[in-house]
């Protein structure tokens, strides 16, 4: 019923078109009011699902009905909402309506209209991190609201240099994506690269940051993630201070971090809360676990199929007696168990939590022991596969853990084909692939290759904070000095 409004408008086509569309949706509302003093008639149009009606009722309507006003300009003075915009450009209407503004029009002034901000904020409260849980340290995790997430970072970095730039991607979803960096610390080249990449995203609906990861990664044909994702605002704060760039996507509780390196995927943020000796030890254990988890089953298959000479004589009887009744060759036996473990993991992940637990127990205990008793697999291999699965869970980043899961299978295949030489061959392929990978055009394998001695201070092991006075070299920060270390005092003896 915008007849009296649309009839004489120059842009009547745009509006009529929009109006006819919106009327088909149930949540589109138009309400007419009359001012008590001046009898001025005015109309509110809005999408009720996007706006908070209490804002209208408490902060706009009482004033508009009781206080006299003649022109649209006047309402800015009488309404107690801060964000009121006056415009005469009808092309803005669609965007504003869908961003939770209320469109106000007056019968007397058909050219201009006002937008009153009344967005409804449905925000999940900030909860504990679930994927990257840590026993010590902050317990806040990102939520789905972009502004809430920015708030979590902004309040940790109260400086003007923290630049937050917004982009809109997705032709249908119009998802807001923001990049965060600290001006003067982040390399401007990196900032430009990531902005260009985000601008270049061509897709209709972006619903999560994982979409963005896949679209802005350097190499798409790889199982390895090239951007680190995290749900911890404290981690994002720390990497911003290092000179990296963070990307937040509206509707996604995971921030992206770029550029990143392979070793970063094996460092948990809890490493920074623990003493450097402990965290270095845990990092080494994690790296060992990765190597163990990828290689142990292939080595078992290779040794048993080709290299019986390598088996220590004391282990020989254990291996032979456990394999005595098994009809399958080592490769089929190993594939059978590995696939069982993968099935259990997949079933456990897809089912609701409570059912999932039962599956884990049923699978672990029943299938394992039953297949050993039935003589399908040897109990030595069962232990090996179970340990490998356990070791693969120590990877702190979930996406990297998935990549590790996959790697075992090509290794198994090569072990079956050519024994230990096959494993070495497969390892060479893997290393070649890793060396070629880049993250935001920076080498993914740094500091291992290219070797950067200074960056080893926070790679395989973590040195104490007092020694990390420089930002990582890979980031080429314009301001590489984190702090100037105090001059070393001459040590005084205990009895001086």
């Amino acid at each position: 019923m915008l007849n009296w409004f649309t009839k004489k408008n120059t842009h009547s086509d745009v509006k009529g078109n929009l109006d006819s569309y919106l009327k088909r949706s149930k949540d589109y509302k138009q309400v007419y009011y009359e001012n008590q003093k001046t009898n001025q008639r005015f109309c509110f149009s809005f999408l009720s699902s996007l706006i908070d009606e209490s804002i209208l009722e408490d902060h706009a309507l009482p004033f508009l009905l009781d206080k006299p006003f003649e022109k649209l300009e006047d309402i800015k003075k009488i309404v107690s909402v801060a964000d009121v915009q006056i415009s005469n450009d009808p092309s803005l209407i669609e965007q504003k309506l869908f961003n939770g503004y209320v469109l106000m029009t007056m019968e007397s002034d058909k050219k201009n209209f006002a937008f009153i901000a009344a967005q409804k904020e449905i925000v999940r409260s900030v909860t504990q991190p679930e994927v990257e849980f840590s026993v010590i340290g902050p317990k806040e995790a990102f939520v789905e609201s972009l502004m809430q997430n920015v708030n979590l970072i902004r309040k940790r970095l109260p400086i003007k240099e923290l630049i937050i730039e917004e982009f809109t991607v997705g032709s249908l979803s119009k998802t807001k994506v923001v990049t965060l960096h600290i001006d003067g610390i982040a390399d401007p080249v990196n900032v430009e690269t990531i902005k260009e990449r985000i601008k270049g995203v061509q897709f209709d609906a972006i619903t999560d940051s994982s979409y963005i990861v896949q679209m802005i990664s350097d190499n798409k044909n790889t199982p390895f993630p090239q951007l680190l994702d995290t749900e911890r605002p404290d981690r994002v704060t720390a990497i911003l201070a290092e000179g990296k760039i963070a990307v937040l996507v509206d509707g996604s509780p995971h921030a992206l971090i770029a550029p990143t390196t392979l070793v970063e995927f094996f460092s948990s943020f809890e490493d920074y809360f623990l003493n450097w000796i402990l965290s270095s030890f845990f990092r080494l254990i994690r790296l060992f676990a990765v190597a163990f988890s990828i290689l142990i089953t292939p080595v078992y298959v290779a040794t048993l199929s080709y290299h019986y000479e390598l088996i220590p004589k004391d282990l020989m009887s254990t291996l032979i007696t456990s394999r005595r009744e098994i009809p399958l060759p080592p490769i089929l036996e190993a594939l059978f168990l590995e696939l069982t473990i993968e099935l259990l993991r997949e079933a456990g992940a897809r089912l609701p939590t409570k059912v999932g637990q039962t599956i884990g127990i049923v699978g672990g205990i029943v299938i394992g022991t039953a297949s050993v008793e039935a003589g399908l697999t040897s109990n030595v291999l069962l232990i090996i596969v179970a340990l490998a699965a356990l070791a693969s869970f120590t990877t702190p980043v979930y996406k990297m853990g998935n990549a590790i899961r996959l790697l075992r299978f090509p290794f198994l295949l090569f072990a079956e084909l050519w024994g230990l030489i096959g494993i070495v061959f497969c390892f060479c392929i893997l290393m070649t692939h890793l060396i070629r990978l880049t993250s935001l055009n920076r080498p993914f394998l740094e500091p291992l290759y290219p070797p950067r001695l200074a960056d080893f201070k926070d790679a395989l092991v973590r040195f104490p904070f007092s020694q990390q006075s420089q930002r990582p070299q890979i980031l080429r920060s314009p301001n590489p000095v984190r702090f100037t270390p105090p001059e070393k005092k001459k040590k005084t003896d205990i009895d001086e």
Binding site: Y306, S317, T321
Partner: protein
């Protein structure tokens, strides 16, 4: 990418036949072998462990006679249900008669087999090796029993270290001859190391008895943890050497005199007398020094007479002499070489109670 995939498939197709699969439970692992000379033919006895479900090991032996040791393996293959593989060979035993005829041809086949490790133990048997191979010694298998027996005696007791690698190295070394431990059957299911067999060109020419092995090890090995007895009057003291070091010195000119200094740190294990005072310790040291010097002296003289050189004096002199003539050395110089032995004994401990 396409190229990689295609080349991978081609490689997989073409190369998977290049390596022979030997799945652990589908082969018979030959862990020990014994060779004897029977009626001018070499009789080999291969030992294959059969692992029982209760983790104990049954020993199965295959016997065949032939002229060459590889031929013997072919004969044995015809008796075995699964292929016999040599990769986990632990010990090789040679019968006395055979070892006096020469064992080099047999060792040659082990040296050429890439799956046989260099740490393989070789030993000479006083008697027939088949009897030892067929014995039953504990439930871990005969081969493991024998190899553990030899190893532990090499590491901590009087037997000098030898294995396939060291045997061949001694053999090919100019101015050195090789030696191997000697086993002897003792009772039905018991064996012991009875001495050291000394080789000359792959043939046993002499044997050092078990009670002299301690002195032999002092001369040829750098570290000995063996025990020996020292008699002082009526009393007997048991001495354990904890550390020993031998050092050779060649006289200036004429270069025909070698000084061997044996530095021994020993502890007093047992003494049949009443009390061990400083005086007694001094006496024991003196007596022990005399014993070592005498025994070692006798041994080197015996080597010179036999024209064998397990200590490697020839090699030592060669490394110090220009224009060394090995033929002349064996013919003239070695028998005339003057060997001086000087033992330097320190008893470091004589027990807790003083």
């Amino acid at each position: 990418m396409k190229k990689i995939i295609i080349s991978f498939f081609i490689a997989a197709l073409l190369l998977c036949g290049c390596v022979q699969k030997e799945i652990l439970d589908d082969v018979n692992l030959e862990t020990g072998v014994g060779y004897d000379l029977v009626k001018e033919k070499i009789r080999g006895t291969a030992l294959v462990p059969v692992y029982q479900p209760d983790k104990s090991v049954d020993n199965k032996t295959f016997t065949a006679s032939s002229k060459l040791s590889r031929d013997f393996l072919n004969d044995v293959q015809r008796q075995s249900p699964d292929p016999i593989v040599t990769g986990s060979l632990e010990v090789v035993l040679f019968g006395k008669e055979l070892s006096e005829r020469g064992i080099l041809d047999l060792i040659d086949s082990f040296q050429r087999d890439p799956s046989v490790g260099a740490g393989l133990y070789l030993a000479v048997v006083d008697g027939e090796s088949k009897k030892i191979i067929q014995g039953n010694y504990g439930n871990r298998g005969t081969a493991i029993f024998i190899s553990n027996l030899i190893r532990h005696n090499m590491l901590t007791k009087d037997v000098p270290k030898t294995n396939l690698q060291l045997f061949l190295s001694d053999f090919y070394q100019i101015g050195k001859t090789s030696y191997l431990p000697q086993l002897k059957k003792k009772g039905k299911n018991q064996i012991m190391i009875s001495g050291i067999s000394l080789f000359k060109y792959g043939k046993v020419v002499d044997t050092i008895p078990g009670n002299k092995m301690f002195f032999f090890k002092l001369l040829v090995d750098n570290y000995s943890e063996g025990t020996t007895e020292v008699k002082i009057g009526k009393e007997i003291a048991a001495i354990q050497s904890v550390q020993s070091k031998n050092d050779f010195k060649l006289s200036r000119s004429p270069r025909n005199e070698v000084d061997i200094t044996l530095k021994i740190n020993a502890i007093l294990n047992e003494f049949s007398g009443n009390k061990v005072t400083k005086k007694e310790v001094g006496e024991i040291e003196k007596k022990f020094k005399k014993d070592v010097e005498r025994e070692c002296m006798q041994m080197t003289e015996r080597f010179q007479k036999q024209k064998i050189d397990p200590i490697g004096l020839g090699h030592f002199v060669k490394s110090k002499t220009r224009n060394f003539d090995i033929k002349k050395w064996w013919r003239e110089d070695y028998p005339k070489l003057k060997v001086n032995i000087k033992a330097d004994v320190t008893i470091t401990e004589s027990g807790v109670i003083e």
